[in-house]
Symmetry: C2
């Protein structure tokens, strides 16, 4: 259903709009404007209108956007009008943190499985699930039909593990390891890299 | 020195270019083109040329970019031609993970202090430093002149802690808590939110 020609840079802003709209909805507000939304997310009103116009007509001149409708449409566009089962691979500090992250509610994701290779960790419970043996990673992921993984293993093994995941059918990897994964073109990778976030701030600090 | 009129969306891409250039340099390459760089980062060559042109002339038609020079200039522009002392506040799973993150090397940051309010954690060593008592947070941050913090406390206390940090002179917060911080206009916040990364991928997964 999605327009294949929408630049990724526009796609990257849609989750930010959706999060801001959900926060507005949580405060009981039912309409907003591109100006108000722009102030919330730090993007110009003109850019927001241009971005959204790639996907249809969402607002009316003078009355703005109906928030529940725009949330519904953005959720459909981003395919988060459903719940995706997500696996966490690598149960060190960061794996535990993302498995327990309480910012996923109503945003389309549910941590369904956790894996580690360390016998001392296997079987221990995190979020009501026992940590699974990484030996069965490919098989368990394949059987469960999991498409999205949060990869929290050390950098030294991240590429190997990613290769196995992709072979098992994973097509989206949120990569916490400090390296660039090499993946086939049909697989999406988002790299969570705190240094990028820090550098984006130091630009503004003299 | 920075051009105040450069849109933040352009600023946000500079760290991504810098990371790709540093990776290229690590492989021993000394020149690149906007085409090659674009393929590495998933941004068009035209956009890269346009972004960089905001800051000066960095490449030559036909010969491309000299990587060490472009790294040096981007580091200056992003103010990471120095080492920033960073504090980690909140030493749960995520705090431990970011304190130990080994992706900061040569990127302008050094974890200099860690804080927690839990008496069971205070004094324990992480990265050769003992965890400090959050009671002394404002004073310690102020005395050390720390401007940048990675905020890893629970959402329920994140705004309170952020307020204290800002009063102590912090002007950049990398926020791991699942909420929007309200901060004065001179303070920069970057929110690390895995759900945003995941939604950016599900767009492409039918």
């Amino acid at each position: 259903m999605n327009n294949q020609n929408v630049p990724d840079v526009i796609v990257s802003r849609l989750p930010v709009y959706l999060r801001a709209l959900q926060r507005l909805a949580d405060t009981g507000v039912s309409t907003t404007s591109s100006q108000e939304l722009g102030e919330k997310v730090g993007i110009s009103a003109a850019q927001i209108r241009k971005d959204l116009s790639q996907f249809g007509e969402f607002g009316k001149q003078g009355t703005g956007y109906h928030i529940p409708f725009l949330i519904e449409r953005l959720s459909q566009i981003l395919h988060v009008d459903r719940i995706w089962d997500v696996a966490v691979v690598g149960m060190g500090d960061i794996g535990h943190a993302v498995a327990r992250y309480n910012g996923f509610a109503n945003r389309g994701f549910r941590v369904a499985m956790c894996f580690d290779a360390d016998p001392a960790k296997i079987g221990k419970k995190v979020c009501d699930y026992p940590i699974r043996d990484a030996k069965n990673l490919a098989q368990d992921i394949k059987e469960a039909g999991i498409k999205i993984v949060m990869l929290c293993v050390p950098a030294s093994v991240a590429q190997d593990v990613a290769d196995k995941l992709i072979e098992a059918g994973v097509c989206g990897i949120l990569n916490y390891a400090p390296l660039k994964l090499i993946v086939p073109s049909q697989v999406r990778v988002q790299h969570i890299d705190p240094a990028i976030g820090l550098q984006r701030m130091t630009y503004y600090i003299p």
